[in-house]
Structures are given as structure tokens and as C-alpha cells.
């Protein structure tokens, strides 16, 4: 499967501006808009925040994987954002989150949606990769690191 195709240079941000969880989520959804596959921005944001409300997707070592499902997207869309200072995302280890991988997939269609999230997240298990992503100067570099 060409699973990482939804993630492109256009949907990567090296410097997220938001200072709160809500602001980061909103900014990431704006990034997703670049994919051209989102029909209703607010519905997508609502799907993400609903999921986030049930349980935070803040993992460990600064990784967060906010995601959601809604039929207001045509296909699986993905974005990656970096917040160097980190923000409180309700992470499992209580540490600030710095690297955000967001995915949104159609609710009524089957597909390797979580598989995509898992594959993109896999390189982030490596501390070296995380460090390189945080110090990357171009979006292409980040894309290359995530694509492995």
C-alpha cells in the first residue's frame, strides 16, 4: 500500500503557532485543507475535537496523533506539525507534545486509516528520528524522515 501518500510537503508545518491544544488542532486542520479533499472544515475540526474529548491522543516523548472520522472528507488526509516549545496536550507521560500527526478519514468507508497512522508514527519511536524532525529546516526533510 502506498500508505504515506496522504502526507505531502503541503500538509507539513515546521512551526505551528498555536499555544493551546484547541489552537494547535485548528491550525492542523487548516494544514489539512491544503489537501483539497476537505468539504467542511468545521465538521472536520469537530470530529477531531470529539475524539480528543473522549481520550487525549497525546502519547509519550512529545508525540501526539489527533485523528477523527467524518464523511466530510473525500479520502484519508494527513498533516504533520511541529511545535518546538511543546504544548500541554494531556500526554500520557505528562510531557509537552512537540510533534503532531493528524489524520482524518471517511467515516462510512473502509480503508487502511489507522494503518496509515501507525506507519507514519512508527519512525517516531526512534529518538534519533524525533530529534532530526525537530531540527529539520525544510518540510521535504521532515517528509523524508517520516517516509523512512
Amino acid at each position: 500500500m502506498n500508505s504515506k501518500k496522504p502526507l505531502t510537503v503541503e500538509t507539513i508545518s515546521l512551526d505551528l503557532k498555536g499555544a493551546t491544544k484547541e489552537e494547535i488542532l485548528s491550525e492542523m486542520v487548516d494544514l489539512l485543507m491544503a489537501s483539497g479533499h476537505i468539504r467542511d472544515r468545521e465538521a472536520v475540526l469537530r470530529a477531531i475535537t470529539d475524539r480528543e474529548r473522549r481520550m487525549s491522543t497525546g502519547m509519550q516523548n512529545g508525540i501526539a496523533i489527533p485523528h477523527g472520522k467524518t464523511d466530510n472528507v473525500d479520502c484519508l488526509v494527513a498533516a504533520l506539525g511541529i511545535k518546538h516549545e511543546g504544548i500541554d496536550f494531556g500526554a500520557l507521560d505528562g510531557q509537552p507534545s512537540t510533534i503532531f500527526v493528524m489524520t482524518v478519514s471517511p467515516d462510512s468507508r473502509t480503508g487502511p486509516h489507522i494503518q496509515f497512522l501507525a506507519e507514519v508514527s512508527r519512525p517516531l519511536n526512534d529518538a534519533n528520528v524525533r530529534a532530526k524532525i525537530l531540527s529539520a529546516t525544510t518540510r521535504e526533510e521532515v517528509l523524508q524522515l517520516v517516509l523512512g
Partner: protein, 556 residues
Amino acid sequence: MPSELSPSVQFILQLGLLIVFTRIGGYWLRRWFRLPGVIGELLVGVGIGPYALGKYSWPLVGRLFGLAADGGAVSPELYAVATFASIVLLFLSGLETDLSTFLRYSVAGTMVGLGGVLVSFALGAGCAVWLGLTESWLSPTALFLGATATATSVGISARILSERKKMDSPEGVTILAAAVFDDVLGIIVLAIVVGMVKSAASGGGIAWKDILLISIKAFGFWIGATAVGLLLARRFSKILKYFRSPQAIAALALGFALLLAGISEMAGLAMIIGAYIMGLSLSRTDLVQVIHKEIEGIQNILVPVFFATMGMMVNLSAIVPVLKIGLIYSLLAVLSKAVGCAFPALFCGFNRHGAMRIGVGMVPRGEVALIVAGIGLATGAIEQNVFGISVLMTLITTILGPLFLSGSFENPVSGLRKQPKDGEQMPQVEVELCFASPDMADFMRARIVKAFRQEEFYVYRLSPDTPSYHIRKDDMFFTLEHDGNSVVIRVPKVHETLARLIISEEMVLLRSMLQMGHGKANLDTMEHDLVSCLFTGNGQAQPNSEDEALPADEDE
């Protein structure tokens, strides 16, 4: 048979009784003797059939299961239902085929499957010659006894592997991969045998060049139809999806399976071959679950009827003279698979323990063997006694196979010749979820299965009796088992993240369901509505709020 029973009423009564008795027979065998239900269904057929109880006249229905007007053991109507059931069975069998796993374990699977098929066919056909049933290896009797001995029914072994938690062991995976090869090759063998018998019946006799031509034709049809099917599968599935309704999709898929079955017969091959190819073609589309779910009901009702019909065709008095031959044939059928599959396994990295487990795991024969024998009998290629021998072999291998396989795992020693060094073996991770109650575990098991399917994994329940699943996609292979309060998922370490993410999404859903205060209020209301009319004395429901008026109140 009382004269007032019309043929259609007779057929309906036969079908009804067969459905009822096979269900009861299968249930008893499973419950009391822990034997596969298929044995009970076959024995019900033997008992009820025209050569046993069926030959007597019974009150109200007369000689309902007596010999048919044309002298056959079953009426043409009932035989048509059994044929339809066999087509459904093979269509679903093709649909469930996991080509990816087969390709991944193709070397060991092919070696083991091929060894089993060749040795079984040779010993099966040889048995007919050596024991004096026929003089020629190319006679229909020899060919059919060879073909009948060929196809393993892996579902029975899969249940044992699951109970022993050995599904994902090297032996378990090799057995499953070999079974795919075995199925395909078994069906090709059937195609060749049917072709040869038809050629002989048309007066042409059978020469080696005929065998070659028929083999080329069988392989050609098989490879051609499968290739076209796999190539057009996605386009075909798109057309089916146009109809949106799962019922319409499943009905159309089955309709086309029947059409291909008919074409296959017209091409001189057996009908089940077309049905299997149709299922196999659709096995790589995302419609597998939809079709399977819709057609499973037909399978559950009609397949026991198929086994019982095969049982009805067994003439016990015809078996008695050849009982010794039948027992020898059955013994050879056990040995041929055990040795034919175990020997190649020794060259695929297994030691004698592993090879023996693989060998005995391939012993059970089932539906395909009976279908082959049934075709032989229906076409007149084999006699009653040979058919009886085939059924006896199916019964014996189905009983012995699971016993041997279960026993072979008593000794926990590794089945591999060389123990994998650290890092060589793909490390496995066990994710165990313990829930508050078996019901909650069952609910989450269903949710997790659905979640994997939504991720387009191929999820296959190993048997209706055990809640154990194989979850596959490309090179990923997980197992899921549900026992009491717990659900256990075993995954390779490399795919742990994926499995944990999928499961955690379902856990989030469960938690939010349990926490939903509003939902609880709804549950309270629904629960109240459901039970409010119980034990009221006058049988009338109690209104649960002032604004809800019962029709009785309106009447008043």
C-alpha cells in the same frame, strides 16, 4: 409412500426432516463426543436413507426416504439441493482463500501440499488396483478413489490448532498454507479425473495422450478463468457495488458463481470448479465480508443437508463385502497424507516432531472428498461400494485426524529443526484485555473484529464453535482469541503499534459508551419500556409517562 403425497410435498417433507435431523445429529456429536458435526450429519443421512430406515414405511409419511422413482438413492430434487449446497460451499471456500498468506508461505506450503496430493492420489488409486476393485490405474474407480483421497478439509484441523493455541505456530501456518495449495490442486485433479471419465464414457477410451490433453484443458480452464477472474475482480466488485444493498450484491455474486459453475460443467469440468474460481476471484476484493455474511445463512442450512444426502447415498449392504478394502483404503488415506506431507516438511526446516504435526494436521478429508465421490456416483463412474468406501474414509480420517493432531502437541518440544536465534525469529507480542464480564468481552471481541475489517483486514473465524480468529492483510498476520472475560490478540512486534491503535480506538468507544450519562438515561427508559408490561396480572403494559398513551387508553 401414501398416494396422497405429491412429489413437491414429499420433497418439502424430506428437506424439512433432513434439516431438523442433521442439526440435532450434529449438535449431539459435538456436545457429547466432541466430534465434528459433519460426522453426525453424515450418519444421520446413512440412518435415514433408503438403505437403512428409509426403506421402511412410516405412519403419515410412508416410505419418505425410499429409493427414488429412477432407482437413485435420493430424488432428483434433493440431489439438486445437495448440488446447490456443494456449489455454495465451494464458492465460500474460494472466497475465504487467503492468497497472500499462501504466497508468503508458498515454498513450505507448496512442498507439503504437493507431497500430500501426490502420495494420496497414488495410494488411493493404487489401493483400488492392488485390492482388486479394478484392474487399471486409469479406470474411473481408481481415478475417483485417488481424487477422493486428495483434498484435505483443513477446517477440522484449524479448530484443533486454535484450541491448542498453535494457529500461529510454524506448523499451524504451514498447514494452512498447504491446505490452500491442496484445495487448488485437489480441484484440478478432480477436473482432470472428470474429463478422463467423460472421455472414456464417450467411447474414446483413455490413453496417456488423452490424459495430457485433458490436463492441459483443465489447467487451461483453471488458470484462464482464475486469471480473468482476478484481473476483473475489482471492476466486477465496482459493478456489484452499484447496487448498494448487501443482499443484492451477495445474490448477484452467487448468481454469477452458479453461472460459472454451469459453464465449467459445459466445458467438461465439474461445477464446483467454476464456483470455487468465482469465490477465489472475489477473495481479494473488499466485498468478501459482505458476500460471506449474506450467504453464510444458506450455507448453515443447506450444507448439513448436503452431507446428509451424501450419507443417504451410502448403501451399507454394498459396503459390507468391501469393508476390509474400505478400512485398508482409509488407513492408506491417513498414512498417505501423514507421510506425503510430513516428508517434504523435513526439508522445509522442520524436525520429525514438526513434520509429524504437519502430516497429521493434513489427514482429515471432508466436503471436497464427498463432492468428488458424489460426482463419481452420480455420473455412474463408480459403484455404490466404492462410494461407500469413500464415505467410510471421510468418516475415519475426520475422527482420527483431530485425535492425532491434538496428541502430537502433547509433547511441547519445538517442531523446528534449528531453533531460531534471538533476532531471527519475528518476536510476538501478546495484548491481553481482561473485561469485567464475559458479555463485555464478547461485545469487545465483536467490535475489535469489526474494526480490523474496517481497516480492510481479512478476518476469518476458524470455526463456528470457537471464537478464535485469524486476522490477515498483506504480510501481517495476527490471531485473536476470546475466552471468558479475556480477549487476547497476538501480533508480531513490528505491527504492535497498529494493533494497539486499532484496539485502543475501540476501548475509547467502550469507555465513552459506559460514561454517557444521557445514554444511560435512554437505557433506563428502554429497559423500563421493555419490562413494564411483564407480570402486570392483566397482561397490559403500564404507561411509563403521562404523555405516552397506550392504544388501549385511546380506545377507552
